[in-house]
Assembly symmetry: C2
Homo-oligomer: 389 residues x 2
């Protein structure tokens, strides 16, 4: 186990009807004028936006609105949000939505008190030293941004998708009502399930020794997600299944299962390039990249893949070699993704084989991954596995 720091200070307010408390929560954390950040019509159609406004009105918190956040959220809306906050003197950012709305809000919160371009933070030119407080109402269990210290934004110029982790990115509160996810399109739910499993697996595949405790916690989450996802995909009003996914999605990414261990993140990095180029949904890019990555690296630590296969995917080891067990686990995982409607190949994810060298060349810093460090040539090989199925 490595030395670590862990602080997950967010106040999670979980359960039915909890969106009615959002006004009181903004005030509790010092907000006096809020910017509501949201995406498209679903938050409007469902009546959630109106409920949030009612709660702010009831608490006496004035607000402005910024709609139009899209998946793989972009820098233009961040600049717009920063402008509104400055012009109107807003002191709290309140995203209502999924990871894209929350990540946009985090970037706005970074940018408002900063003299330069907020992108300085995302491209590593500057460090966040203060930010507006922010708290969220979650509608999509996926990104884990409601409990995490990270945010991913795509800069329009150059089509650069970059993540930034800083403790200023931890939301002050997260309102989590699983009922709000009942209306989520099944494809989006499947993307979310894939994303939360990916967050766990990026941490699970490590070279750090003696990490049995976090291994078992990670496996507990993966098994619960697998079982709840099947129920939630089958019944969009199964409260318990949706509640399990919503809470698991937070735990998957607040680093509970990542403390004290080296983490990988190659599949995310490569997936980001696929999303940036083809506007592929983040979860869909991971559904393709994770199995390909696993098939490329499993021989680096077969025992870990055997543990993964038997404990998470219930692969029966009888009569199989370790290598066969490991591969059966990877196959079971990919079959699970496909059963939810996720793509199995780069092409199904909207990509094409001809772009592979360009995609690999674009991965940040020219190398990625810690479980196995990958250079562009190896990234190309993994992308070819993804292209072949």
């Amino acid at each position: 186990m490595l030395n670590f720091e862990f602080c997950s200070p967010t106040k999670f307010v979980f359960g039915k009807g909890m969106q009615s408390r959002v006004g009181e929560l903004v005030k509790e954390f010092g907000g006096t004028r809020a910017l509501i950040v949201y995406g498209g019509g679903s938050v409007v159609r469902s009546g959630l936006l109106a409920q949030v406004k009612d709660a702010l009105d009831a608490a006496g918190v004035p607000y402005e609105e910024l709609g139009g956040v899209k998946p793989n959220p972009r820098s233009d809306l961040v600049y717009e949000g920063i402008r509104i906050c400055r012009e109107k003197g807003l002191d709290f950012v309140l995203p209502v939505g999924g990871g894209s709305a929350i990540d946009t809000a985090k970037a706005i919160a970074d940018g408002v008190p900063y003299d330069g371009d907020f992108w300085d933070f995302y491209c590593g030119k500057a460090k966040v030293t203060k930010a507006l407080p922010h708290g969220c109402v979650l509608t999509i269990p996926a990104a884990g941004s409601e409990g995490s210290n990270s945010s991913v934004i795509t800069k329009i110029e150059g089509n650069l998708k970059r993540g930034l982790s800083t403790e200023f990115h931890r939301p002050r509160f997260a309102v989590m009502n699983p009922e709000l996810t009942f209306t989520l399109p099944r494809y989006q739910l499947a993307c979310g399930v894939t994303d939360m499993m990916a967050h766990i697996m990026e941490r699970y595949f490590t070279n750090t020794k003696d990490v049995d405790l976090t291994d078992r916690l990670a496996e507990a989450l993966l098994v619960s997600i697998r079982e709840a996802a099947a129920k939630a995909m089958a019944d969009d009003h199964d409260y318990e299944a949706h509640a399990t996914l919503m809470w698991a999605g937070m735990l998957a990414h607040n680093n509970s299962v990542g403390v004290g261990r080296e983490q990988d993140w190659a599949s995310h990095q490569i997936g980001h390039e696929i999303s940036a180029k083809y506007d592929t949904a983040h979860g869909a890019s991971l559904a393709v990249m994770f199995p390909a990555w696993m098939k490329y690296v499993y021989q680096h630590d077969v025992a870990r893949f055997v543990q993964f296969a038997t404990r998470v995917w219930a692969v029966d080891p009888a009569g199989k070699s370790d290598e066969e067990i490991a591969l059966a686990g990877i196959e079971a995982m990919q079959a699970f993704f496909v059963s939810m409607g996720m793509p199995a190949t780069l092409e199904q994810a909207g990509g094409c084989k001809e772009d592979i060298p360009a995609l690999a060349a674009k991965v940040v810093n020219g190398k990625t991954g810690h479980f196995v460090e990958l250079l562009p040539a190896q990234i190309e090989e993994i992308l070819h596995i993804a292209a072949e199925k």
Copy 2:
């Protein structure tokens, strides 16, 4: 799953040598003059107290000292600590030790800014509305007080042992260096292991339905603790085993595995009376009470006890009835406690059978427990099971 709130804001600083950071941490959380609270000679003999003072000196934080905390910490030292803080104008409480030092510090922190008797909070006469900030250096993995919102103090007059949970009780930081636990006497380590398992089991045995996720997280912790405890008991310099126990002890009690579910806590309540009467170590009282409680209540939900037996204690279900599986799990747990040197009976825990009616009558409010609600007559029956082995 029930609606819930969860906030565990403590900054955990985990690993080798981390006590050197305590001065900087006190300052980070606004402390300018600290009260160091500790127990007996071990903190002095090991050199830890000197290291903590060096770190405070280096950070320019003056301090006073309050030694002499004992297991089942008492009110007299709390009054003394409050007096020192007021007289010397101290604004931060810094316990160095285990649950007893931390719980004492929490009570001092509550009492300093309060006009009345701090015991008002513990007996339910008043509510904490402000408290001094506090952060700890942990030396005993057991109570989980480094991450929990609770504190248990024994009032000397009337020998009343009472717990108080409030969000003001969450430490601002917790320095957790597993090496500091190498010198712990094996009996105390065994008590700690029992206590952390008990914290999980109090939450595990619930009537709330659809709690698969927290069930699996609880089971993951219990299995890791069971395996690490065996290694740590066998080798007092096994860093990884001690690290696993230290982190698991925090997770066992910061409510990670208790959210969204009704919890029991009868065994703790009854155990507190045993500790208060005989000064039995807290963990030892639980080692006796938990198996007795389980034998009394398992028929209330045999399926849950079967799950516990098979997933946590690896009981082989082949050829056994559900009742036999459930009982085998309870036996395996008790055998594990005994293997670490814990008592198996009330007498071995320092008690005697003749006191049972008086013990049962003293349990707070005359009833306890949620999995099965227990009245004094039933508490007596459980104590008789504990007396019989």
